[in-house]
Amino acid sequence: MYAVRNSSLCTKDCLCLFVCPTGATDTETGQIDASKCLDGCRLCVDACPSHAISLMVTSFPERKEKSSEVSSSLQEVFHSKTGQLAMVRQQQSLLERALYHSLQILGEDCAREEGFMIAQDRKSIELLQSLLECEDPDLPKDTIRELLDLLS
């Protein structure tokens, strides 16, 4: 595990600089140097008054598979929500814009429950790999390959 800082919460109190035994928190990038961070030490996590630092795991636990009934009922909602999104996609009025924004959140929630919770998960990786076989010539396959590299 290594420490990461959420810069939008950091209030620059710098307690993390004082407690870190390796200087991993002392960088110019706003981020913690993961290569210097001691696995699971968490001194800075507990010291930060703004709860801006958390520990990130390097390998994620296996996701629990959904029952096929739950999965297909979720898919029904997922398809329904994307259909509704298509209706307000042009976002021509305040109402359509609000619905678009909200439906996006509901749709993403379905995607998450469908098993696309994190990019490191096997299911996400398999989806990316399968997209490499997709025939759409405009699909940015370089981006997909770079992602697969970063996630492996």
Binding site: V4, S67, Q75, E76, L94, I105, D109, A111, D136, L150
Partner: protein, 154 residues
């Protein structure tokens, strides 16, 4: 592979915007940005072209509230799937709000928004139509800082 058949571009757009959000929470800007690129691609190239039809929208949302989400709830209970249950509980409530807003809009049109602002809760999708941002989300209890104001002009 099977996923590709299962999910069209509209679904893929949401799969990748959701993964991008999660990478952002892992403070992995590089991965998040690339996932966003994919999401944007699928969004832009989606083939579904249906215009805004309020009656059709109301009918689809109503079915979510009356049958599709309840089906997830039913199956979620049987499988003790807490994730699916949470998704269905919030989703059903937010969809009921959509239905009510659409129904009121049919009568009041733009007057519905007079003197009001429109806010969306980033955590659950709840839409508030009120002069001020809600102190907490009535559905998921997220604080006011989680609300995004929807802009009035395009």
């Amino acid at each position: 592979m099977k996923e590709q058949k299962q999910y069209g571009y509209d679904e893929l757009a949401l799969v990748f915007s959701n993964l991008a959000k999660s990478a952002e929470k892992q403070i992995n800007a590089e991965v998040s940005k690339k996932l966003d690129t994919l999401s944007t691609f699928f969004k832009k190239n989606s083939s579904k072209e249906t215009g805004f039809d309020i009656d059709e929208l109301v009918s689809s949302v109503s079915q979510d509230v009356s049958s599709r989400y309840p089906e997830v709830e039913k199956e979620g209970k049987i499988s003790e799937d807490r994730g699916a249950l949470r998704c269905a509980t919030w989703g059903k409530k937010v969809s009921a709000i959509h239905k009510s807003i659409l129904t009121r809009y049919k009568n009041q049109k733009e007057q519905l928004f007079e003197g009001k602002e429109v806010w969306v809760c980033e955590a659950c999708g709840f839409i508030a139509i009120s002069p001020q941002v809600p102190a907490v989300c009535p559905i998921c209890k997220a604080p006011s800082s989680r609300f995004t104001k929807i802009r009035k002009e395009n």
